[in-house]
């Protein structure tokens, strides 16, 4: 069962899916970092003084991690960072939801799709659930990458 769960083809598929998600998500952020910084500010977590630096670093990190996953480079570190970022996204979005904010998460676009604007808080919950799903994939990849077979003696 364990060997099937961490079959190379399954890990390969998980890696490519995560790469696609992170590269897609990073595009709107890296092309308009100030708008992404405004999304982060709306969470009300970080001091405004460090928000630009945080937005800049996070946008760049998403791109690099996405590329690394796509090319199969530094997979252990990349899967660790995707897991860490997803934990952070889930935490931040949950904090915003529990404190009564109605915000656009900024996950994939700087502004919300008008079709979804009628239920902002519902959309926030949907994003949390989606991120939990991605976190499970990321942890699957991470655990698969840090396991290595022992050479038979």
């Amino acid at each position: 069962m364990r060997e099937k769960l961490f079959h190379p083809w399954l890990l390969w598929a998980t890696r490519w899916l995560l790469a696609a998600v992170f590269l897609w998500a990073s595009w709107s952020k890296i092309t308009d970092v100030p708008a992404f910084a405004l999304n982060i500010k709306n969470y009300g977590i970080l001091p405004i003084d460090i928000t630009p630096a945080f937005a800049t670093g996070l946008a760049g990190l998403e791109v690099v991690v996405g590329v690394a996953l796509l090319l199969g480079l530094w997979r252990k570190g990349a899967s660790f960072l995707t897991s860490a970022m997803l934990v952070m996204f889930i935490g931040a979005l949950s904090y915003a939801y529990l404190t009564g904010r109605s915000i656009h998460c900024g996950c994939f676009t700087a502004t919300m799709d008008p079709a979804k604007a009628a239920d902002v808080r519902g959309e926030m919950l949907t994003r949390i659930v989606q991120d939990v799903g991605l976190l499970l994939l990321s942890l699957h990849l991470y655990w698969g990458e840090i396991r290595t077979p022992r050479v038979a003696q």
Partner: protein
């Protein structure tokens, strides 16, 4: 059987990716000369003469000079501040002045400046239809006074910056907000807002 890879490779790769990602992000931002002033628009107190000119229609607040929408590379327009005294002596009750409440609707319903139009800043950010439906009732040739809770609340400044970037020329921020208004004994109204008879909501 399997064994866990020693952590050296994991931490080395993680640090390398962090360095590349953060460094790359800064390089990309520097190359594009990103302007983060939309996060905290500069603010200046409106002068008495300037306020009089706005009310007589002889000029804008001056904040209309830079009208590029935030994030488009243009400088964020200056947001002009107005105090309680100027509001009571020149603005409150003036038919050419519109007050806008940037807080959420439940806060507005609990209490607001009489005649104010609610325009929930956070909701307007994500729902252009809602934003447009409220802006329809804010005349562009009026002096617009935006307020929120006061104190640490910066919704009013952000909403004011948004209105300026969308073409409103005479926008002021009452930074003391609802807290100060109540403390100073300003008139109060409560309940929801509905558009004037004969107009859509």
């Amino acid at each position: 059987m399997t064994e866990i890879v020693p952590p050296k490779a994991l931490w080395a790769q993680t640090l390398l990716l962090l360095a590349l990602g953060i460094g790359g992000g800064y390089a990309a931002t520097a190359l594009g000369s990103a302007d983060f002033s939309i996060l905290d628009p500069p603010r200046v107190a409106v002068g008495s003469g300037e306020l009089d000119r706005m009310l007589t229609g002889d000029g804008s607040s001056g904040a209309g000079e830079a009208t590029a929408p935030p994030g488009d590379g243009g400088a964020a327009p200056s947001v002009k501040m107005v105090g309680f005294l100027d509001i009571m002596t020149k603005l409150y009750g003036n038919p050419t002045v519109t007050f806008v409440d940037a807080r959420d609707e439940p806060s507005f319903e609990q209490g607001h400046i009489p005649g104010a139009i609610p325009l929930d800043h956070d909701k307007a950010l994500v729902d252009p239809t809602y934003r447009d439906s409220r802006e329809r009732h804010i005349p562009r040739d009026h002096v617009v006074v935006v307020y929120c809770g006061g104190g640490e609340c910066d919704l009013s400044r952000r909403l004011a910056a948004s209105l300026l970037s969308r073409g409103y020329r005479n926008v002021l921020v009452y930074e003391g907000g609802w807290t100060e208004w109540q403390a100073e004994g300003g008139e109060k109204a409560s309940g929801g807002w509905s558009p004037p008879a004969g107009e859509d909501g």
